[in-house]
């Protein structure tokens, strides 16, 4: 494995600028390491030709002294982002062979800024899952203790694993209920889900439209800031993206948190919370206290309903969003005697079990006679959860919690297999943030006794990613978490 692939984006940009290595050399190093790490199954499609072509352009730009902000940075792209002329399937069988003729806004922004595409990253089918075991292309192996065959988390499992294994400089992810933050925590890397509306959803295959947000998964806080800078911004093609100026995120890194009020929600410390996680949470609190921040106890009283509301709203939207995958125009088609049979055959073969489960739940909760009791009620709960945060942010500037109640678990874990509910419980600390549309970041804080990464989550006010970057940078600096080399 190469050394230059272990660098952060800021270090890599430095190296490229100083001609320590060329973009082509760098890209080749990544492509080699990707090949060496194919056992992880992080990539579902490698795009070496495109990567080397982009690297060549980058080298020319460096030679001409006109590099763009991400010139020559090799990225992995979650397979939910439509990439022009590059197969995109959301890791679903139903999109077999689908090659978009358009580019998602987020990836086009990254590539326009000079980033290089190494390939498409594995994920839970249509981003539904928390372990990456729901991919049509098979599970991803967590690069921590490969021999133990642990999950990388999900749904952006390929993204987090690839970043942790240094087979991309950073990756794109999407987060509907924790799909950036939880795998980042499981793989000991950093990921941020920005405020809903910060990044355009155009060209990202929709799971739950009112919750989906794109964001970066990277090796450190600063890299997240650099990438989010490029990914953010209003897009007239997405009516839910917000026309707001994007601040200079990196400029907040290194700023003091003195006097900053850190909210600690009581509801995130339920009885029976894993003691190691509780201890690391306390460590985070201690770091911020030492840095001069003020610790404030807050309450988010409706947290206990968040998971239930989430698992009504997200499947409801998904059941509708996934209706277009019907075998008629693209992807998999299994013919039948008539139209209905063709739909049934194609969708029966094309969707995996978890996707089918959520389509069925979503269809049920929107049905006549059940809509009020489920969907409408869940929307009311969502409003209450949003209000909880509004109230909390009157007392504090940012909220600190664990990212997940668990560390990475084995692929095929028995408890998780027993009931989908056990799997869904992993999202307990992350879903509220999506329901409220707030920005949330996960960053590594330390290892468990048996050597697995734990993450802490920072939740900011709406469109206040700056405070997250500032606070995260302090924790990162003091936690001295060692990435995989």
């Amino acid at each position: 494995m190469s050394d230059i692939t272990k660098l952060t984006i800021s270090q890599t940009l430095e190296g490229l600028k100083n001609k320590q290595f060329s973009a082509t050399e760098l890209t080749k190093a990544y492509l080699q390491d990707m090949e060496a790490k194919r056992n992880l199954n992080a990539y579902v499609l490698e795009t070496p030709e495109q990567a080397l072509a982009q690297a060549k352009v980058a080298d020319t730009n460096y030679a001409n002294g006109t590099p763009r902000t991400l010139e020559g940075i090799p990225l992995g792209i979650k397979d939910i982002f439509c990439t022009k002329d590059v197969r995109t399937t959301a890791c679903s069988h139903i999109l077999d062979g689908f090659v978009p003729q358009y580019e998602s806004t987020v990836t086009s922004k990254l590539f326009n800024d000079g980033a290089i595409c190494l390939g498409k990253l594995n994920m839970d089918e249509f981003a539904m899952g928390g372990s990456n075991e729901n991919s049509f292309y098979g599970p991803v192996v967590n690069p921590w203790h490969e021999e133990r065959n642990l999950v990388p988390g999900g749904s952006s499992g390929g993204s987090a694993a690839a970043v942790a294994a240094n087979i991309c400089a950073a990756a794109t992810g999407t987060d509907t209920g924790g799909s950036i933050r939880q795998p980042a925590a499981f793989c000991g890397v950093t990921g941020i889900k920005p405020t809903y509306g910060r990044c355009s959803r155009y060209g990202i295959m929709a799971f739950a439209s009112s919750l989906d947000q794109a964001g970066p998964i990277a090796k450190d806080v600063k890299d997240c800031a650099i990438l989010l800078q490029s990914m953010s911004g209003y897009d007239p093609k997405d009516s839910t993206s917000v026309n707001k100026e994007v601040p200079n995120f990196t400029s907040f890194i290194g700023q003091s948190v003195k006097g900053l009020k850190i909210g600690i929600p009581a509801e995130y410390r339920p009885q029976g919370l894993n003691q190691e996680i509780a201890d690391y949470w306390d460590k985070g609190i201690e770091i911020l206290k030492q840095a001069g921040a003020e610790i404030v106890n807050i309450s988010l009283p409706n947290t206990k309903y968040a998971l239930a509301a989430y698992y009504i709203i997200a499947p409801a939207e998904a059941s509708s969003n996934l209706a277009r995958y019907d075998g008629a125009r693209y992807g998999l088609r299994i013919d039948g005697k008539n139209l209905d049979e063709m739909y049934t055959n194609s969708r029966t073969s094309g969707f995996g079990a978890e996707v089918k489960r959520r389509i069925m739940i979503g269809t049920y909760v929107l049905s006549a006679g059940y809509y009020d009791a489920y969907y409408l009620k869940a929307q009311k709960v969502r409003r209450l959860i949003q209000n909880d945060f509004v109230e909390a942010f009157k007392k504090c500037d940012i909220i600190l919690t664990p990212t997940s109640p668990l560390a990475a678990f084995p692929i095929g874990d028995k408890t998780m297999r027993e009931s989908p509910i056990n799997m869904w419980l992993n999202d307990v600390f992350t879903v509220s943030v999506n329901l409220a549309g707030l920005p949330g970041m996960s960053l590594p804080i330390g290892l468990s006794k048996d050597g697995l990464p734990f993450g802490l989550q920072l939740i900011g006010r709406s469109f206040d990613e700056e405070t997250i970057f500032k606070t995260a940078a302090i924790i990162e600096q003091e936690a001295k978490f060692e990435r995989l080399k």
Binding site: F81, C82, T88, A90, L95, F98, P100, Q101, Y102, S104, R201, Y202, G203, I204, M205, A206, A208, S209, S210, P236, K237, D238, S239, T240, A316, E317, S319, S320, L322, A323, R324, Y325, D326, A328, R329, Y330, L339, D340, Y343, T363, L366, S367, A368, Y371, Y375
Partner: protein, 481 residues
């Protein structure tokens, strides 16, 4: 209209739902063209085709057209409205859902005044108007085993206009469709061509014994594509229900379709087999919020609508209500009339327009837009009659020439020497000549056969090639005979 049954009189209760394609350059949620008549699958964006990751963006032009139409229906414009998804699977619906408005439509209650044949009017209440996307077109006759889909229509903006169940006869429903078509055409918000499908109608029909208060289960007839068919469908369905009830049957809510070939309605499905559309708020589009200023600006741009025009034509231009109703139904006709009538007697212009002019258009199979006789020239023709330059009879000949050549009537009259002779000395000479040439008839007249007067008038007019002023001819004959 009441149905005469064996058991007594029955009343028809009918409401309409009309889908009007919005006139706009691009589709309601995408930038693809709405052009009618393009090759199949030419006007299709990635959004229309339901490609993964595509998002709708609202076309403001469609919003404006809906508000305009709402104002034309004298309706409440809702400053807050929302889009919803109506979910169902069909090959003509690539997204698997239609984006429509459900709980919060853009336009609320309004009213349309219809004109009935007996000269009376009736107010029909509008329940709501909402905007949504049209579906694609299925083509089933290209292959014995496959269906084909043309996505050109998919995503074109529609206004769905729903009335209250205020119709009591097929005639009322027909009058409403004509009036609505007239309003949207005046507004330029829909071209109202039912045969091209840019205006489509569903009718809900139930009947009940006269005096009964409760509404009975209704039949919904889908996609009736002409005014005539709508009237036929309502009449047939009402009579079918009457027969059913009077033979001891009962109705259940059902959906049927109109078969134009037989003029009958055909059963499609009972209510319990209706789709559960699982409506929910469209998460890809924020709520639509309009300001008072926005609505007022549109109100200011509204053209004069048929009812207002009609009143003005009756009050200021001397038209009868009947003439005004016919002339105002079509904006082009009303505009033509107004142009022609400028400076002339409105009633006379109307007579010419509705008489010789329409007959000429019919004969030549032309529309008013490509009439060879311009509004100005029709006005001039009436002017020539008004100032006694030509007689009504000559005018008919001049009009014939105009409809062939499109020429100015003044020029025709000049060139052909058709000017009426009002110089009494010139006429006197002809009168004298006729008297001198017919001594027998003069004697007969003078001996009491006074009805020969008409014969003398005819002879003089004939001699003058129709140019002599008949009034002067009469006066001179009276004097000389």
């Amino acid at each position: 209209m009441l149905l005469e049954g064996k058991t007594g009189k029955w009343e028809i209760i009918c409401g309409l739902e009309i889908h009007c394609q919005i006139i706009s350059k691009s589709k309601i949620f995408s930038s693809a063209s709405t052009h009618y008549g393009s090759d199949t699958n030419q006007n299709v964006s990635f959004v229309d085709a339901g490609m993964p990751g595509m998002l709708p963006t609202l076309n403001e032009e469609c919003v404006k057209q809906a508000v305009k139409t709402g104002l034309g229906l004298r309706a409440q414009i809702n400053k807050y409205s929302e889009f919803s998804r109506k979910n169902y699977f069909y090959a003509d619906l690539p997204q698997g859902y239609q984006i429509t408005q459900f709980v919060h439509p853009i336009v609320g209650e309004g009213v349309v005044t219809i004109d009935l044949d007996d000269g009376t009017t009736k107010d029909i209440r509008i329940e709501r108007l909402h905007i949504e996307q049209d579906a694609a077109k299925s083509i089933h006759d290209m292959s014995p085993t496959k269906s084909f889909i043309d996505l050109n229509r998919c995503g074109i903006g529609l206004m769905e206009i729903v009335t209250k169940p205020d119709f009591r006869s097929p005639e009322e429903a027909g009058a409403f469709l004509k009036k609505l078509r007239s309003i949207v055409r005046y507004l330029g918000t829909c071209d109202g061509n039912m045969n091209e499908g840019s205006m489509r109608c569903d009718a809900s029909i139930s009947i009940r014994p006269l005096g009964e208060k409760e509404l009975r289960p209704r039949a919904e007839i889908k996609n009736v594509n002409s005014v005539k068919f709508a009237m036929q469908a309502i009449e047939f369905e009402a009579k079918r229900q009457l027969e059913l009830y009077e033979n001891g049957g009962t109705m259940e809510q059902e959906t049927c379709r109109f078969d134009a070939a037989t003029g009958t309605t055909k059963f499609m499905r009972k209510k319990e087999f209706a789709n559960d559309y699982r409506y929910f708020p469209e998460p890809d589009l924020p709520p639509l919020v309009l300001t008072d200023e926005y609505i007022e600006n549109i109100r200011k741009e509204l053209p004069e609508l048929p009812d207002a025009k009609k009143t003005r034509f009756v009050e200021n231009m001397g038209l009868t209500k009947y003439d005004a109703t016919i002339i105002c139904e079509n904006k082009e006709v009303a505009d033509f009339f107004e142009k022609a009538a400028a400076g002339h007697d409105g009633k006379k212009v109307a007579n010419w327009l509705m008489g010789d002019f329409f007959a000429m258009l019919n004969r030549k199979n032309l529309t008013i837009e490509n009439s060879p006789v311009s509004a100005e020239n029709l006005g001039k023709l009436v002017g020539l009659i008004e100032n006694n330059t030509i007689s009504g009879k000559v005018a008919k000949d001049v009009f014939e020439i105009m409809s062939e050549t499109g020429e100015n009537p003044e020029k025709i009259v000049e060139e052909k020497g058709l000017k009426q002779v009002t110089d009494s000395s010139a006429i006197e000479a002809i009168v004298d000549q006729v008297i001198a040439a017919n001594p027998d008839n003069v004697t007969a007249f003078r001996n009491g056969k006074t009805n020969l007067k008409g014969w003398f008038v005819g002879q003089v007019l004939k001699e003058s090639k129709g140019k002599a002023n008949p009034q002067i001819v009469n006066e001179l004959l009276d004097k000389k005979l």
